[in-house]
Amino acid sequence: MYTLTGLELKNPTILAAGILGTTGASLCRVACEGGAGAVVTKSIGPMPKTGHPNPSMVRLECGFLNAMGLPNPSYPGFLQELEIAKKDSGVPVIASIFGGTAAEFTEVAEGLLPGKPDAFELNVSCPHAEGYGAAVGTNPCLVEAITAAVKDVVNVPVWVKLSPNVSDITCIGTAAESGGADAVVAINTLKGMAIDIESGYPVLGNRSGGLSGKAVKPVAVKCVYDLYTALEIPIIGVGGVSSWQDAVEMMMAGASAVQIGSAVYDRVDIFSEISTGIEAFLQRKGYSNVKRLIGLSHEMV
């Protein structure tokens, strides 16, 4: 057991947003069978969205490309799923939310409060978000305002999920911190695309999308490393974690916990596999607990 922004986690592996998070039952399965220390729901918005046409996700030689288009039943539709997850998962349940404006974010957060999420994760980083031309998450002022607005209306921790598709991720991380974020989550997917050369069609229904999985791990590690230097608040590392070694690497870069997304492709119990692996590593190295790993690489000079 250890504490992350006030939540008690039995291990530092967390289900990432948008992965197996459409239903309460699925979230429970990831926690119970899968062994996740906490679970994040799919991102929920103010209005029901069916998302982009298929293909919405394909596996590449290295990693995965997806453009789901934030499908979600909106917060009223999702409340019952959140309640199931809270009742049966036995782990902290973090509600991922998105919107185009601060007002939409607070509307969704308040709408989900009856479901008693243990924390909120603000998805300001989706490359497909509407409203402001580019994604909300490339604008530090907006990120700060949205974070502050949500902090104002909820009394649980607020995590802010960052996009790597920016010149300087620490600048957005700092904005989240200034807005009162309890933690940042890095990274969301990298902008990417694949083309079917037989036909010339882009493969994704949305033409382009986000890259995840093994391909993005070095990028995620670098983002976490830089954020660790710039921020006081904890960083949750995500992007390409698919083994305990990856999780340890992410923590040494500065992550207080890791999220796992695409790697559920291999097996749902990747969470217990990774947390067991981390424990064995700590034992072998004689480290008292997982906190010893956090940011360790910064000391090695």
Partner: protein, 259 residues
């Protein structure tokens, strides 16, 4: 994997609204019940059971399937797969009951072929709206007895597959494989539950697929949280106890929709 390019080599009209598309790829490792994601470029990508290792059998219902029906021999579409868990293959000599409704015959016909190949005895209950809509009757007949039911009575028993099923002694069968409209599968499920043979029954489910590869969670069913695209589409009756089967499904946004 990126979609493979599949060129249509032959099209068979199975019924007024159902066509089989033969393509120039062979999924040698395909298990009956597995599906492929069929990408009609510029339109959509939808799941289809493999009706053979080199064919899909499609009912025209909406946008993607209509576009597919516009394609001719020589045209092509994208294919990813085969994905998911198929029906458990019978052992030599086992007695099998297949219950197929409408286009649900598509993934069951190769199952009948496979069962026949290992000398299983296969009885089939084949249901459809009318005689015209019955598909793969010959393939099932080649594997054993076929009991036909049609809603309008134009062939076989007038009524539903359950009308025939309720008259059979299900205890005689080692395995029961079911695919068809959800309402039908739910009735069959209740009947087999009553007869206490759920553990030897398997059902192939349909849910809205996005990723098709077990990552996004769009196709998860209550209360198990199992993924239809990866843990299924074929589930044992026991896995479906206390499930949403026949009660509700979820649309593309994840919202529950009554069945």
């Amino acid at each position: 994997m990126l979609p493979l390019n599949a060129t249509i080599v032959h099209i068979t009209e199975e019924s007024p609204s159902i066509r089989t598309f033969f393509f120039d790829l062979e999924f040698e490792t395909m298990e009956p019940g597995q599906f492929v994601m069929v990408w009609i470029r510029g339109v959509d990508e939808v799941p289809m059971g493999l009706s053979r290792k080199n064919s899909i059998t499609v009912q025209k219902v909406g946008e993607a399937t209509s576009k597919l029906f516009e394609l001719k021999e020589g045209d092509s579409f994208g294919l990813r797969g085969p994905f998911g868990k198929g029906f458990s293959l019978p052992s030599k000599g086992e007695k099998i009951l297949i219950i197929a409704g409408g286009v649900g015959s598509a993934p069951l016909a190769p199952y009948a072929d496979a069962a026949c190949a290992v000398d299983s005895k296969v009885d089939t209950i084949l249901g459809a709206r009318s005689a015209d809509d019955l598909i793969f009757e010959e393939r099932f007949a080649a594997a054993g007895e076929v009991y036909v039911s049609t809603d309008d009575g134009s062939k076989g028993t007038k009524g539903f597959v359950t009308d025939i099923l309720s008259r059979l002694d299900v205890l005689l069968y080692d395995r029961i494989a079911v695919c068809g409209p959800e309402i039908m599968m739910a009735s069959v499920f209740r009947l087999l539950e009553d007869r206490k043979v759920l553990e030897k029954a398997e059902f192939s489910l349909h849910r809205y697929f996005k990723c098709g590869i077990g990552v996004c969670g769009a196709c998860c069913i209550d209360r198990s949280g199992l993924r239809v695209c990866k843990d299924g589409p074929v589930f044992s009756g026991v896995q479906l106890l206390d499930s949403e089967l026949g009660r509700y499904t979820r649309d593309a946004s994840g919202r529950r929709v009554k069945i």
